[in-house]
């Protein structure tokens, strides 16, 4: 191989290697699977117990020092609010990290469902964040650093539960906003989140996630006919710290019935896996193509003439 073409080959290889080095940690983080911290905490939400009092919304508002609501928290008329042509019920936003919605079901009458961050074991928001703002704490909370949030909002696209919200109203410091399991003020100190504490019905049971799974299964077993035989969140999307029991099929109360049990990151791993391959193979392959093309081509390009002469003597590799 000639001096010039070797130099060019090296230039290409160096570009590739630099990029491979960059890709190193990416691959390392992408492989393997994580099934959650052993003693992480969770909450079991029992929809059969919720009476729609909205006290959890009030407690959250107070605990997280959110802006005052437009309507009182004991105003049940919010359950009749719909959006986007009646297709959507209330959702979490920058002013409300949790909301309760009412679903009028055929079999069980009104069923109330609390929505908040489900604190996935393998959070999609976390894996999609390019500034690594999110953290899954050993306690089970998915928290985030607002001070590095660039505002790309990929986490909102990634969240299968439509949970993270964005402070679109702010021009100076807009960041993602979501339930953080009351991590700073409570969870870290071993206390239940504010919504759990206020709930008059114990519709929210706080405990170790592994215990909650047993408790949930026990409730289904010992109360025949009360629940559909499914603990939503035990396996969904790799498992969530917040899990649900319901008396009606989950799709009737606004859940995605078939999210699959694969964590979102598994859909991305294949692509991330090809990255180092491309970085490693492409430089050699295309430089090889180049040398092959040079050998057979009988072109008159002055820019490459010098190289061509040498290239003919050198190999194609």
């Amino acid at each position: 191989m000639s001096g010039i073409s070797r130099r060019r080959f090296l230039a290409a290889s160096v570009a590739g290697c630099t990029a491979t080095a960059l890709a190193g940690p990416r691959k390392a983080l992408a492989s393997g699977s994580f099934t959650g911290y052993p003693d992480s905490m969770g909450v079991l939400v029992d929809l059969t117990r919720c009476i729609g009092c909205r006290s959890c919304e009030a407690a959250c508002n107070k605990e997280q020092q959110l802006p005052a609501p437009d309507r009182p928290f004991d105003d049940k008329s919010v359950f009749d609010e719909t959006f986007h042509g009646g297709t959507q019920k209330r959702r979490t936003d920058e002013n409300a990290y949790t909301v309760v919605n009412r679903y009028d079901t055929k079999d069980a009458g009104p069923v109330y469902r609390k929505v908040q961050c489900n604190h996935c074991s393998e959070p999609a928001c976390l894996s999609s964040c390019f500034v690594n703002a999110y953290t899954k704490t050993p306690e089970g909370a998915v928290i985030y650093k607002g001070n590095v949030c660039v505002g790309c909002r990929t986490c909102m696209v990634a969240c299968p539960f439509h949970v993270p919200a964005y402070s679109y109203s702010s021009a100076i410091d807009p960041v993602v906003k979501k339930c953080i399991f009351c991590y700073e003020t409570r969870l870290k100190k071993g206390l239940p989140p504010a919504c759990v504490d206020i709930c008059p019905q114990e519709a929210l049971t706080f405990g170790k996630r592994k215990d909650l799974i047993k408790i949930g299964q026990q409730r289904i077993q010992t109360n025949p006919g009360r629940y559909v035989n499914h603990l939503y969140g035990e396996k969904e999307l790799g498992g969530t710290s917040w899990m649900y029991l319901s008396s009606v099929p989950f799709e009737e109360v606004g859940f995605d019935p078939t999210p699959g049990n694969e964590p979102i990151i598994n859909h991305v791993k294949d692509f991330l896996g090809t990255v180092p391959m491309v970085l490693a193979i492409w430089p050699a392959m295309f430089t090889g193509f180049h040398l092959l093309a040079k050998k057979q081509a009988d072109h008159d390009d002055h820019e490459h003439d010098a190289e061509k002469q040498h290239g003919d003597e050198g190999g194609e590799q």
Partner: protein, 446 residues
Amino acid sequence: MKSLIGWGVKPVDSHVNEKNDKQWSLVQKLFLGLTPGQYLGQALRNPFNWILGIIFAVGLPLIVYRFLFGLGAVTHASNDYPWGLFLGFGLFVMVPLSASGFLLGTTVEIFGRHDFEPIERLALLNGLLGYLFAVVYLLVDLGQPWRLPYPMFVSFGPAAVLFLVAWHVATYLSVQVAEVSVAFFEWIGWLGGKRFIRRIAIGLTVSGIILSTLHQGALGALFNYAPGKVHPLWFSSPFQWIHFFCSAIPAGLCMVIVVSTIIKKTMAWRCDSNFIDNLDRLTLGLAKGASMGLITYLVIKFIGVAHDNEWAYLATGWGAWFLFEMAVGVVLPIMLFAYAVRHQAVKLARIGAVFTVFGIALNRLNTALIAFNWQLYQEIPHVFEVIIAITLFAIYVVVYRFLLYRLPILYSWKALPEEAFAAEAAKAAPVKISGSPVGAMYRKID
């Protein structure tokens, strides 16, 4: 401009003013060798500038408004639809249409198809500007654009696809700046810079291929984070990145056809014979390449449908929309290209290219906006959002035109005699251009 040329004014294409044998100053080069009065006159006579003026008059204040009052004031980007037109169009459409840079770079530099050289620089510039404005759209869309360097320098999320996109787009932008700088160095007359870039051209091109493969694919892989939100016909977990990468190939090639067609119609005065005379042949060559890309894309799209057994969706309204996209954006251009190549019908190839660009743009808009959240509701962009997107595109057009007017993209820079000598020393075979006193062509003519 045409009328000025009719009056005997010649736009700058060399370092020396033919009339007085003096070197053009940089300012004179910026005014294309016209007097400021002449320049302003031609600008005002161009009705297109008036349209641009109206767009800017409405759009620029809105962009200021967006930064004063936040995204919520100008967009319908919501908690359910975090990405609106700025990313749906600005990022996801602009980037595949800018694949031209690495494609023509590969064709010419790697595969040695030097017969494509007359259009290589246009393709490189098209790539550079497309990426640059994808970043501009991104800056308008980001909640805190001043934190854009964070993933580079402050806080790293290396396992995120967007991290890869950010790094690769940033790196690739620099690669493209380097590639296009050859034309800039000629224009300002700094041969050293040009020679340096030529020397590392292969390295640049190969890194261009790597980076393009990965981030074109990565834009598709971004939707792998939302497997349940994008309609299954526009989402295929194992193949999404290949779909995006593969469709970027015809998109980039056809964008060059479309841009060169517009140039031929509106900017012929700026093109030299090397560009104009070769354009028809090159258009058919690009069309051939694009049709190979489109056929592959069509096949793997349907492999995607078959792999996840999504045939039943084709019978729904979404299926009809999907088939429309495939028919108009993929099948129709394939047929047009096939006919055009066989019968040397360049015009049909150009029409096919327009359909391809439309089809790929529609595909990206479908994936990012229309078929996104297909189980929720349809979001219609805010009118301000549309206006800002159009304004940014108008700035893109203006910058594009500004550079085409000046840099030797469409024409060859006529080097000074001493430069020509230097070029000759570097085994150049200078080609005489008829009627040119300075004469020696620096760049090769096919």
